[in-house]
């Protein structure tokens, strides 16, 4: 006779999924983008896309992974737009100090130590910053991080190692 294994069903109700996943996702992407407002906007947009397709998406094995994947892509779009904006301004010959850009990170951390760490994170390459944010802040596994970033597990590990090494080295140099 087969043993009965209790199965904890993943929440399929949209509101429950939203309430469970929204805040961790926003926190992770806040570190990745340096701005809670941008992170909230990306995550809300991802959820709103899920909302209109919820009948289909709720049938997926992990609907949250779909939403996270969309949100990560939106963050990448945001980065690309920002880079293009900066590049265009550079091409026009404007001096960087004349350019009005939102501070990065936009939300000034409370203490100086956190501020220095935020600067170091902002200086990381995009992939490393995103991987570190999802893995260390949102507490995803390597596999979940890889799924969200459309990368292999090995690539995610590489980015995480590189990010951690860069942060530690810079942190020790400053100390």
């Amino acid at each position: 006779m087969l043993d009965t294994v209790p199965v904890v069903a993943a929440p399929r109700d949209f509101e429950t999924v939203f309430r469970t996943a929204f805040e961790p996702m926003v926190r992770g992407l806040t570190v990745a983008t340096g701005s809670r407002a941008v992170a909230e906007d990306c995550v809300q947009e991802a959820f709103s896309r899920a909302f209109v397709r919820w009948r289909r998406i709720s049938g997926y094995d992990d609907p949250v992974a779909w939403v996270r994947h969309v949100a990560v892509n939106l963050v990448r779009d945001h980065h690309r737009r920002e880079q293009r904006k900066r590049a265009a301004v550079d091409r026009l010959g404007a001096r960087r100090e004349d350019v009005v850009t939102p501070p990065e990170p936009a939300d000034e951390p409370a203490d100086e130590r956190a501020g220095r760490l935020a600067e170091l994170v902002a200086a990381l390459p995009d992939q490393q910053r995103l991987a570190a944010s999802l893995f260390y802040v949102e507490q995803l596994s390597v596999r979940e991080t890889a799924a969200a970033m459309d990368l292999s597990d090995g690539a995610v590990k590489y980015h995480l190692h590189a990010a951690r090494a860069s942060l530690r080295r810079a942190w020790e140099e400053r100390a």
Partner: protein
């Protein structure tokens, strides 16, 4: 978890987590309004796209479905429209019986025996008799021709050239229909289909 064995760094996780403190409050009500707006915009966009698609299809039919329009090598002629249904007055029409008159045939001649009882005596007679036209397909080596035949007229419905041939419509009715199919450029093989209504109402076919 194995994934975390060599990557775990609680200190770093805590420091990074401190950069993004948890926000208080319930984000769902505000977000829900955005979701509903998004869904409404999406529905409106889908409806607009549907209307535009239908309008495009209707326009395409209106443009391509007119009388005598060539579409992809097939010439179509409206079966009930144009001059193809008019019947010239003459001994053939006047001598024919009611079964030889096509729909909407006007014969400005003396009263015929088929005129209805309501027709005033001595006036020009307008007789409309329901005679079902028949469609026929005539084939040649160069292509096929579809025509609509009544006892007094023949009109071209469409011509379909065979592979390698082009159709040249010389006459589309009502007295005769002639279509020539040519292979290649000038000087190539030519096949001809010529159809004509005889005085006795039968269809004369000439296929070369």
């Amino acid at each position: 978890m194995n994934d975390h064995d060599d990557l775990d760094d609680p200190g770093l996780a805590a420091a990074l987590g401190a950069l993004a403190p948890e926000a208080g409050g319930d984000p769902y009500p505000a977000a829900h309004r955005r979701f509903v707006r998004h869904r409404r915009r999406r529905r409106v966009a889908a409806a607009a796209a549907g209307v535009a698609g239908v309008a495009a299809v209707v326009t395409a039919f209106a443009v391509l479905g007119g009388n005598g329009t060539d579409v992809a090598g097939v010439r179509t002629v409206s079966p009930a429209g144009g001059p193809s249904t008019s019947v010239p007055a003459g001994p053939t029409a006047s001598s024919s019986t009611s079964t030889t008159l096509s729909p909407s045939t006007t014969t400005p001649t003396s009263p015929s025996p088929t005129a209805g009882p309501d027709t005033p005596a001595g006036s020009a007679t307008s007789t409309t008799t329901a005679v079902a036209p028949r469609d026929e397909t005539v084939e040649s080596a160069g292509g096929t021709v579809r025509v609509r035949v009544t006892p007094t007229s023949v009109s071209l419905l469409g011509s379909t050239p065979a592979a390698g041939y082009t159709a040249d419509v010389r006459a589309s009715g009502p007295e005769d229909v002639e279509v020539r199919f040519r292979a290649g450029s000038s000087g190539g093989t030519e096949h001809r289909i010529r159809l004509r209504i005889r005085s006795d109402g039968t269809l004369e076919r000439e296929v070369t």
